[in-house]
Symmetry: C2
Subunit: 272 residues, 2 copies
């Protein structure tokens, strides 16, 4: 019998991940600030938690997939969340937040005997549906061992363990998102130059993404550029800006220069 | 019986490519400005051409793999090269040169009834040995059909046809090299930030290059960064600078902005 999981944050990525957990046989207690977003999961058998703390069970497992540092800290601080989770309870934090914020949260949990595992996730909602997510994780070994089958049931094609020190997995997530941004920018710029020089962009993308760059970001973004259907919605643009800001802040705190990230975040080039 | 091929330019990439042709049974006439670089191929059965024009046969096929626009134009202009090649002769130009220069060369060849195929090549010398090169080509259809088996015998894992208009394949080569430069810069910057934040760079590279970025450039450069053995020799740095300059010039001529390439070429970040 799979154990009950609390799941807080049913956004574009949270909803399909929670759906995967339900499909894998995990009983869920779900909560979302906008309650209507829980309706679909409740209709499929999940229990509804009216407040975030209502998704928490003593010694249990609760997953959060929220917007930023502040929103995770707010959930943790509200309504006696940590008291409800209690000793031995595990909070799996999947939001893309700052490594420093993740370390602060881990310390708050440790004070109450709760366990904090950071497990940021790479993948768009379609990848969750296709069970092609990649999850990086860091935190106490025993807690990671307990949640690993759950991470896999969420739709992970791979779970990558970055050790016991919280902050490492969120760092990798921010590095990856920065590199995605750089790759997308270089592809857009290169393809525009090729097209201006009379090349068929479809043929260029077909060659480059099967030879030098056979990677999902180049392939999917290349297809969008060729089809001229790159519509970055406001939400996606916000995520890109937020994560690039987190990457630069993290590197600055550690004394690592980020000239390229600085350039990308300030660049006035075509933001398609 | 495979036909005789003239091969001019036995540098780091030219030598293993010519060796592959010899191994595939093509009789070769080889020439290099520094004659000693031909010794190994001559020892394996290639004929030695004292002057570049001596590698050319009427109506035959001659390959050049040289440094830049000027060096290709110089070979073509010297000692009656085009007269020696004559009507129906095919010049396969594999150097990374400007699309404009390639078009000029094509016009010079057409005036004499010679055929000009541009066939710039992606791959390091190790890739030539491993027969994992990728070649882009453009030029007259009949000439391309004649040289295609030769391009394959050079060690190409893939030959990509960009049409009859010369300039398209060199454009793709410059776009690809710019994107390689951007990818390498972003990986170096991201990895340095991760390491400064206490992540094990080997684990970061292992995750990123098997998930988001399973591409040769990220994998090979990532390995070098992890081993701290990135020694970009002067020759490689020169190639990077030259090709980035060609990319920017090509885009500028076509009216396409290149903010990221401008940034990379002027950036003072860590050039390892």
């Amino acid at each position: 019998m799979a154990e009950l999981i609390g799941f807080i944050g049913l956004g574009a990525l949270g909803a399909p991940i929670a759906t995967n957990l339900l499909a894998a046989g995990y009983p869920l207690l779900v909560h979302n600030r906008t309650a209507a977003k829980a309706d679909g999961l409740v209709a499929r058998g999940a229990g509804r938690a009216d407040r975030s703390v209502d998704a928490v069970r003593p010694g249990g497992i609760v997953v959060t997939l929220l917007w930023d540092d502040a929103s995770v800290e707010e959930v943790v601080a509200r309504d006696g969340f940590l008291d409800a989770l209690g000793p031995g309870g595990v909070h799996v934090s999947m939001s893309t937040i700052s490594p420093a914020g993740s370390r602060r949260l881990a310390a708050m949990h440790a004070e109450r005997g709760c366990l904090f595992v950071e497990a940021p996730v790479f993948g768009r909602p379609e990848a969750a549906v296709a069970r092609q997510l990649w999850i990086a994780c860091a935190g106490p070994a025993a807690a990671k061992a307990r949640v690993r089958p759950i991470l896999e049931a969420m739709g992970a094609a791979g779970v990558f363990d970055f050790g016991e020190e919280v902050g490492a997995a969120t760092t990798v997530k921010l590095v990856g998102n920065f590199m995605i941004g750089a790759a997308a920018r270089s592809l857009a710029e290169g393809l525009a130059a090729a097209e201006a020089n009379g090349c068929d962009p479809e043929a260029v993308v077909a060659m480059l993404t099967t030879t030098l760059f056979p990677a999902p970001i180049y392939q999917s973004y290349g297809r969008l550029l060729v089809e001229k259907t790159v519509v970055m919605n406001a939400g996606q643009a916000d995520i890109g800006r937020k994560d690039l800001g987190l990457f630069r802040a993290m590197a600055a705190e550690a004394g690592a220069p980020t000239p390229m990230a600085d350039f990308i975040s300030g660049a006035s080039g075509p933001r398609r």
